[in-house]
Amino acid sequence: MGEYALLYILFAPFAGALALIFISNRQPLLVRSVAASAALVSLLASLYLFYAYDPVKGGFQFVQKYAWSKQLGISLHLGVDGIGTPLVLASSILLFAGIFVSWHIKDRAKEFYIWLLILAAATIGVFMSLDLFFLYFFYEMSVIPMYLLLGMWGSHTKKYLEMTDSEGLKLRDSVGFILNFGSNSKEYAAMKLVLFLSAFAVAALMGILLIYKFSGLNTFDILVLREQANLMNIPVLGTTLDKIIWVLVFFGFASIAPLWPLHSWSPVGHAAAPAATSMLHAGVLMKLGHFSIIRVAFEILPETTRELMPIAAVLCMFSIVYGGFVAFYAKDTKYVIGYSSSSHMGYVFLGMAALNYISLSGAVIYMFAHAMATGMLFAMAGWVYDQTHTRDIPSLGGLSNKMPFISVCFVVGCMASIGMPGTVNFIAEIMIIVGSWDKYPLQVIVAMLGIVLTLAYLFKMMRGLFYGPMNQKYSHAHDAISAVDRLPLLIMISISIGFGIFPMHLYDVVRSGVDPLVARITRVVPVAQTHEGSGVRSEVIIPGTTSTVPVVASKLLPLPSQVSRGEGE
């Protein structure tokens, strides 16, 4: 396989979905095994990718390029750098785990797996796209499966089911319905998600089209655009074009991240979604936002990024605090985890805003770490919901008697989410905090507060679910006993702790992707941070020069370690 690893990762889920179309729902085991084996192929290939990725060489590796439309200048250009690689791995882990988490789905299982596979494949496609068109293509493609997964297999919130409407259910299809923000139905959540994401996605598309036009290169290829596109200093509407494009791209993609004022679709969507969908949604779908901002705004408009990224630094504080407080007061398990996710995504924005090697690497590692931690929490919230058919925390309690395995896993999930030492989240959090301190001390203090808040609401939820007096109504609930049920949790826990103890390769891979990017943006060479002097070591290529020259570092540097510009071979 080797160089075709990306194609296996991307097309195995698609092939699985295609194969499932021809399998009858009357053979549930066959349906599940086809879905699981498609996910397994993808997982194995991405594990191979992760370990075969050469951090010393850096840049875009495993590049595949196929012409797709000559007239529009589009090619299927795939490749991963140090930022895409861990996210591809996280997506395929969560897909694999998600298929086992939803093993017991009875209703239209085949359709469920088809849409889940397409959703995961589309997110994987974004992480490896080197073409703006395909980045948008896969991004938009991931939205519709979410609609169906939420609508068909999701659940209403408790409040909704108790709601009595004088007009019956007729209002649900009207315009008033979509504007009625008091509604809690799954249809509402699904529609809101699609409309929000589409509305902001078209803003990003406008930005992409402007890049396409004003670069004048007739191509959507990111690697070509970042080298040759000159979008600076074009005066437009009292400002410059690059700022307009940057704002369109940033807010277009930040909505899925979800950055604070654009977040409201996300917790509602989490709450309505079935467990596996929540896992993918919180685990990787949200990261599409950060990743696309890095890939489009950071790569193509580095100077503008340096100028405007403080916007993110301001908004991320609101994300962290607002999400944290709402999660603290929420009564619904999935709302708690959903708001906690949107709060934690604020850390990623903080790491991105500080724009240095440590903080941006921390942000990327945090995306990976958060995917595992939140995946676990959602899987377990889903398990509790399947057993008790309620997500209302006050009515639950004492479940640790009935489900010891789940409650132990839940403790681990909470620890990971808080960022206990020993989990990969700790490494990520500490890097973000250390890296951002010089530039944004206020935000770092807020982030610390956010960690305390995380501790508070997760422990509150843990106590509410698993400890205290038991509600006898749920005495029939049972633990995850079979291997199928335990496998997804064990995978995510072992990855989270494994990378927490042995983070070197992950760190090297991420640094190899982050270093050239930050060098481009700040034009400063990194302080040598690699353990034992190994790791990232390559040259800076200045645009316009053919020879590779070591860049003169800032005066503080005794030993300038060098970074690659990330040329894709």
Binding site: S69, R108, L148, K186, A190, M191, L205, L210, L237
Partner: protein
Amino acid sequence: MTFSLNLSFSDLLLLLPEIFVTCWLCVVLIVDFSFSRVPKERLAYLSVAGLVVTLGCLAWFDMNHVSGTLFGNMFVLDRMAIFFKIVILGATILVILASIEYVNRFTLFRGEYYCLVVMSALGMMFMVSANDLLSVFVSIEFATLGFYVLVSYLRDDLASNEGGLKFFILGVLAAGLLAYGISLVYGETGKLVFSDMASAQPTPGLVIGFLLIFAALGFKVGAVPFHSWIPDTYHGAPTPVTTFLSIAPKAAAFAILLRIFLVALGTFKPLWVVLLVAVSILSMTYANIVAIAQRNIKRLLAYSGIAQVGNVLIGLAAGTKMGNDAILFYLLAYLFANIGAFAVVIAVSQAIGTDEISDYRGLSRRSPFLAFAMLLFLLSLAGVPPLAGFIGKLYIFVAAIKEGLYTLIVVGLVNIVISMYYYLIVVKQMYINEPINPSPIAISGPMKTVIYVGLAGTLVIGIYPQPFTDWVVSATLMFANFIGPSVTVAPPVHSLGG
């Protein structure tokens, strides 16, 4: 102006598809009247057979680059005409196949139905080849004549009669406008053939004349503010006729619009861009907002069709070779998605007898195939990757942004989001709501064929558009002569944000 008819055999070759369809039409009529015992669906297959042969002939033309003009430039067969003829014939074939089951319910005139459909198709084949204003007028009226009858085919149904009457009255009004416009243009320029008018000066009479012609053609494509007949006519007409009406006449009228705007009026581009931008914005925004409130699937698709026309007009407003390619590509994508969606509507209404959106409840349980097909068709119309509609929309936007039509693109993008809402409401009914009556829905063989063709087209064009873009690019090559930067007299009036 003397008119000498000296046709050689090679000239007749250019007319071969039309001649063949005319003869075949007579054959079908004769079989219908002479052998009254013949089951009427045999007539459908007979018509389809003739059209398939014609399609093959056109494909041969396309491959061998057969082209030329006839009758003193009145009739032109270029690659764009061939493209549109293939689209129209393809639509006709699919519509006939989708009608078979529906027509079997008619009590009277079942055979004539197929003849009228083929006759309209013949008229539209002339429309796309029309190269002067007279042949535009004659062919449009010829094509519409069949539709007047077809729309009011359900004689006992008041809605059908109302739709037919509305269509007729407004159609005649449009014909009047067209004739008046043609007379003004002829009076001002003394020319009828499009390519001769390229050097005309924009006198007020000429401008009014072309505005009237545009209004008449706007009626045919159903652009706001000439759309008022569409919802009632689409709603009342027999559903297969609605299908036909929603695709073929629009495609044919766009062929004429392309020729008029890019060949005859190429020099006035700065003037008509404003007009097209306004009409396009109105069409998209109005239709998408009104579509939200629809309760009937045919009316919903009618408004969605108006909005799609607004999208196509973006490409026309771009007024470049690339804009043309995008229009052709978009129409191809629209053809498959729209025929497919209407085919599902026909299949469902055969089974449950209504077209209300609320009766699509739980369709995915009653017929997973129909629901899945409808899902893909609606998403293609909404413009979701990886379906054909997305590539079509992107192609049009790329063509427009190269001309700097930013306002138009922003409106177009916002409208994608609005349209997503009402398409997804149908999806919600099909997939999320539970059926009241869970009995399965049976689908007839020909209907299945139509839906499969629609699905194949929607997916193949969406996933691998290269052959199709190549086709449309080569189909509009002749426009490269007419439009270029040198032709534009005035600098583009649209600056960023304007």
